[in-house]
Symmetry: C4
């Protein structure tokens, strides 16, 4: 490969994968617009009235985006150095899944579920949002969620246990004649209840069933408070320890961060 | 314009726009009463039984308030110095929208949606509530919400993604025969479910649909905890820095709070 | 009144109103049991099956408790010094309302709503719970709620505004043909939706109505986070400032409470 | 009993009750798998389609697990030193309940409710989860919940009072003709509403009923914030004092944390 080719490749790489140059930003904005438009078309296609009226246009636009995404995919594959790593990376697979269903659907048009696969392309937006402060913010959020994982695990396990036991109880008490056809259906009802969704497609009919439901609701109500408390606590905790902190050597008054040069309490020079 | 006219104008300005004088306060109280009464009448008019019985009275009272608001609008326009700025200001438009529909409706009585426009007058109450401590409190709330905007953006985007993907999945799995007529309808169902509203107008019928719904509810349940944690954290954070802040008199580097005695950048003694 | 009478009165006062003596505690426990039993009977009486089977017993037991409460009321009135103050106090009225409906119902048995008045006697339990630490805890809770009143006011006002405006919009968009008979009904629907209750007795039918509902749910979802954050923040805030705190005079490191005699950072003797 | 027997017993004890040795961990993993598989079979058995197709297999597998659990129970009883203590311990009873219903059901096959008892075996998983950090985390959670018990008690009592009073009111206002058949049913409706579940099986029909429901929803909405705030606050509070604490070596007055250098009671220098 000649040196000039390499230069063009590097330039393209900066545009397609980078976000710092004006051209790179323009590419990202274009990508956001095409991804959102593509999703709009997928959504619009599912509405019968729109499909009947503008069906032809939607098919044309759908193929237009598939061609754009195909060109983008080939370009990405062309400019990236470690091609294998990209192909198997999370976003590499997402990029492929955005175009594959169209070509597969050409031969097997009856496979309706490919619609879901196509809408997964929205995940690409997360790669673009990973710019500037959004990246920092979501990493803070993820760090807080990660730190509270053991607590959340204990919590989820407790909920699962409640769902299985209450589900079994309601199956026995209410039975198939009141809509609680099986334990899985009863567990579905328990989840609908404990999460306070409450569709009302299945609801207790017997007095004992209503009593148990009431207890489940009050427990679910109280349980709702626990993960909120956990996350709030972790959010506050992770932000406090974001930088390595030491006590002031003179007054030991408070932790200081790298950005502080003098103790704000006693005025001592700090070494950071 | 004579000097005496100007004096009357200034006095009226203080009454209408000010909140410090007794007359200004009385004007505000009167305005709150008229705005609330006007809203009551709009609401009462929509109830068929009341409309059939007191219809005539409601029309008369409605026009009575329109006349009062028109006089108020003319007075505001008369006393304010920068008339153009008022006309185009948020509250200037709100004040106009409170009287315009009545006159428009006189010629086009069939336009029912003007009802909404009239009830927007309630927004005026926010301008009156901007007194004393309520202003400070709501600014604290807004500051906390503003500070947590990047996190909330990441969060809302994640929810939107979940809604689109789960909406598409349920459209494919349940299909039109179970009420999931299109992806927008499925997305509406996903929002009803993830927000734990759960009307029950559409609910999953197939076992796989119920399984996915259960997962969505548990996720929605957990997700509910995240923004609460964010807001709580920001509220605590913004309040800590709520004190009157001044720049360091020596290095001007950063704002300091009452609790700091020395500048943490240059070590200068601060007077708090 | 002789001195011995006064002594008996004082003793009875300590038993009936006090909570420190063993007899006073026994009286409170008895009162809790009779109040709860009385409520049980009122609740049981409303169930048709129970009424038809044990109707006679319930009437007898109901009158039994009325007689007990009447004796208690007379005793309270007898032992209390400032009789007028008790008669007009909150609990004085509650105590009277517990027995009055029975005597009134004797002459006007058709007044069903007296049932509610009788169940208000449960409020008496709050006077008994005002013992030991529960009193302290609830005062902490009330103080936190009081401190967050301005914020909650701004918040409730915003919600009320949203309910009126969205209610008017849905009345115009959906109309009586879809169950949105009037603005009050639409406002009821808006409250059912924003509080995430979602009965499903009224639900949007038109596409625009569903779109507005979706926005309302997402907003309601976000708004749910605000008061939680406020209360959490105030709870933490009120507990921190529970005692008057001053900075350490040597190192200014941290606020100290009355209970601390030496600074925990630099060891300086503090004057509290 | 010979010494060799004792040695085998000790080894088995370490495997069955311990979690530190590789064999003990393997046993725990096996136990988790068998308990979860057993629950799966109980759940699967309740689904009619599965029962009709694989009924025979499920019965065989069910008995297979009963035999395994019986062997496990006998082994536990054999290796444990204080047999009586184990028999009457929480997990001892749980272990027995996992096998007893099968043998009882052999003679009385009509007792359907034994299904619930069998699914209680899932509680065993909590004994296994009590490993490593999960134990620490859940003890932190439990400590926070315990510390907030007085507040939660006041709170639950307030909710119970609201439910009884609103339940009575709605019973009188709506009455049996609108589904509010009795006060218990009205209380069930109040719980469904205040917990924001909202099945919609019972919903207010009269204007006054709808007004009271709206107030209940807004109150329930606000009340939801209180326990969350309490738990969050307690979680933060308990974690602050989580560090290893020692008594002051001089005055033994109070526990101190890592952040304190001098005892706040007597001024003694502490080693942290």
């Amino acid at each position: 490969m000649s040196l000039i080719d390499q230069k063009i490749k590097d330039k393209l790489y900066k545009i397609i994968f980078g976000t710092d140059t004006p051209a790179g930003k323009a590419f990202d904005v274009m990508l956001i617009i095409t991804i959102l438009s593509n999703s709009m078309i997928i959504i619009a296609e599912s509405v019968e009235v729109i499909r009947n009226t503008y069906g032809m246009w939607l098919v044309v636009l759908g193929w237009f985006f598939v061609i754009i995404f195909t060109i983008e995919y080939i370009l990405r594959l062309f400019v990236v150095k470690r091609k294998g790593a990209y192909l198997l990376s999370f976003f590499g697979i997402i990029d492929l899944l955005a175009i594959l269903p169209a070509f597969l659907g050409f031969f097997m048009p009856q496979i309706r579920f490919l619609v879901i696969v196509r809408s997964l392309r929205l995940l690409r937006l997360f790669s673009i949002l990973k710019m500037g402060r959004y990246m920092e913010e979501s990493s803070h959020l993820l760090r807080a969620l990660k730190a509270s994982r053991p607590k959340i695990t204990v919590f989820l396990f407790t909920i699962l246990f409640i769902i299985v036991v209450v589900g079994s109880m309601m199956y026995v008490i209410e039975g198939p004649q009141n809509g609680f056809d099986s334990i899985p259906i009863s567990m579905y009802w328990a989840i609908v209840t404990i999460s306070t969704v409450g569709y009302g497609d299945i609801s207790p009919q017997t007095p004992i069933g209503k009593l148990i439901s009431s207890l489940l609701m009050i427990i679910g109500y109280g349980i709702l408070a626990v993960p909120t408390g956990i996350i709030s606590h972790e959010l506050a905790h992770t932000s406090k320890n974001q930088g390595k902190k030491k006590n002031c050597p003179n007054c030991y008054s408070k932790f200081y961060t790298k950005e502080e040069r003098f103790c704000s309490k006693c005025g001592t020079l700090l070494d950071s």
